[in-house]
């Protein structure tokens, strides 16, 4: 168990990585995060503290990425894994079924909560900003290309996604 500075109950003893459970995790983060980048971030924080610049562990919004065979996966923020009455989910997939985007947003406040991306690359800082500042789904849909990080000449999908969103708004559901 560690505090915000990753210190255990024993002074000058720190714990980072898979074995560290944070007593008061930041909003949107979990007490235990045994993924590839958290240990590195924690290590940098503790190094600063040990060198005389006490620094609290403040990871940004949750994110992750992976690759399965040829499919690249990225996620930013939080995507619900079970049906939730307070969260709306917009899901778009292309014809090849190898690219998809899921955007979760709050039903009540309409602010975006998270992104799941397969086969499409997004900019972390843009997604993080949108989520942190509780930007509305409407704004995000209209400015989606700000987040796109695909190489030049790659097909663009923003207009398709906007179409889908408009249909969803109209019908309450799509298809």
């Amino acid at each position: 168990m560690v505090d915000d500075f990753l210190q255990t109950n024993i002074p000058n003893v720190y714990a980072i990585g898979d074995c560290a459970e944070i007593r008061n995790p930041n909003f949107g983060r979990k007490p235990i995060e045994a993924v590839w980048y958290t240990a590195k971030m924690m290590g940098e924080i503790v190094a600063k503290t040990i060198c005389g610049y006490p620094t609290a562990y403040q990871p940004g919004i949750w994110y992750n990425s992976a690759k399965f065979f040829e499919l690249e996966y990225q996620t930013y923020g939080s995507i619900s894994t079970v049906a939730n009455t307070e969260i709306e989910s917009l899901f778009w997939m292309d014809e090849s079924q190898k690219k998809s985007i899921r955007i979760d947003y709050s039903k009540v406040n309409q602010n975006v909560l998270g992104f799941n991306l397969i086969g499409i690359r997004y900019r972390q800082n843009v997604c993080e900003n949108w989520i942190k500042h509780r930007i509305s789904i409407e704004y995000v849909i209209n400015n989606l290309k700000e987040a796109n990080f695909d190489p030049e000449f790659f097909k663009k999908y923003e207009s398709h996604i906007k179409q889908l969103f408009i249909e969803k708004q109209k019908n309450g559901n799509y298809k």
Binding site: Y63, R121, Y122, F149, P151, E152
Partner: protein
Amino acid sequence: METINNQFQYHVSNWKHFALALIACSLLLFLSAFFNIFFFDITTHLIVAICMLVVSSLGYIFIVYSNKLDEISNNGVFFKSISNRGVWGWLLGVLLTGFYVLLYWFPSTLEGLIRLFDPLSQILRSKPSDNWFLYGSFYTLAVLIMGVKFGMKYRHNRYQLIRTISVCFFQLIFAYLIPAFLIKMNQPEFYFTYFWPLKKEMLYPNDLNYLYQSGELGKFMVWWAVIIALIGVPILTYFFGKRWYCSWVCGCGGLAETVGDPFRQLSDKSLKAWKIEKNLIYSILLLVVILTILLWLNSLWSGKVLGSFSLVYSKIYGFLIGSVFSGVIGTGFYPILGSRVWCRFGCPQAAILGLLQKHFSKFRITTNGGQCISCGKCSTYCEMGIDVRAYAQNGKDILRASCVGCGICSAVCPRGVLKLENK
């Protein structure tokens, strides 16, 4: 017993065997021409050799790439003899270097092959073939065939596909067919896609004068040479970085990206290599600038002050830099030193474009640094030996004079961390 070394043996099918056999046959036809043995009349021999080579290599390429996953596969690149300085790599290096040496300094030994291309030369240029036509024909054929291979390997990346088509187009049309056609029309043999200082003669007083005197088209060529070198280059590099030329137009770049693709991981990534690179490339730029100024001074002062010094200097530069460095080492050493040795360590054009890119351009490679898992594929496959990973890990933009904007780092990155942008 399966060791790491032989788990990458090819699964050879009958069709693959057949394609390889045909490739071997076509190469034998070229070899026999080298020894002045022609199995048919020259025209038929040439047609059969080229068609067989094209069909069999395209067939082989399609067989190899048809059932691969929709991603870039570099499996076994450090185990295969050809791509990791093994026996086949060295053999190929010796063969290529040997060919260049013969081509530049002992062209009479290539007489058989040169005569083999007479029919094609007559069609395209209305004159007999020579060692430079042989070179251009092999060069263009290599870029086109390996361009198809490259396209198949990177077929799911549109930037790579379009860039490769561009490079094949400029090589075939502007660096092969148009110059040949100009010769056929009794006009000066002019390469619109090369300019000073890469083709240093384009701003030499005697050459410009000759072009200007040769007619209306010649006058246009002089204007083209001056405007593109002094105005076109800075403007295009401002908007797009050095990549508009080095990765999309230049023939040296075209060969490096197509034929040189299997060897890009051999580029030296050390800091020492970077230091040598900077010293060498800017020295050569200085040499060619001095050379050009000397020739203009000599011309202005009618040879009174400098005499034949500028001509001697020009000959030495032409031999050492133009032939040995650019040709023999630049291409012959692909399988040993990687594909961009000339571009990185010697090309004065690259030096100028690099300075413009670093200080006066909108181009950079931006990074989505948080997602970098430090796998190092970007640095491994960077043909210019840039440590891309270091920039990606720190979330910094890559703005380097040597970056040719090939886009391979972005293409092979498994987490989508890199993007080539004109910001």
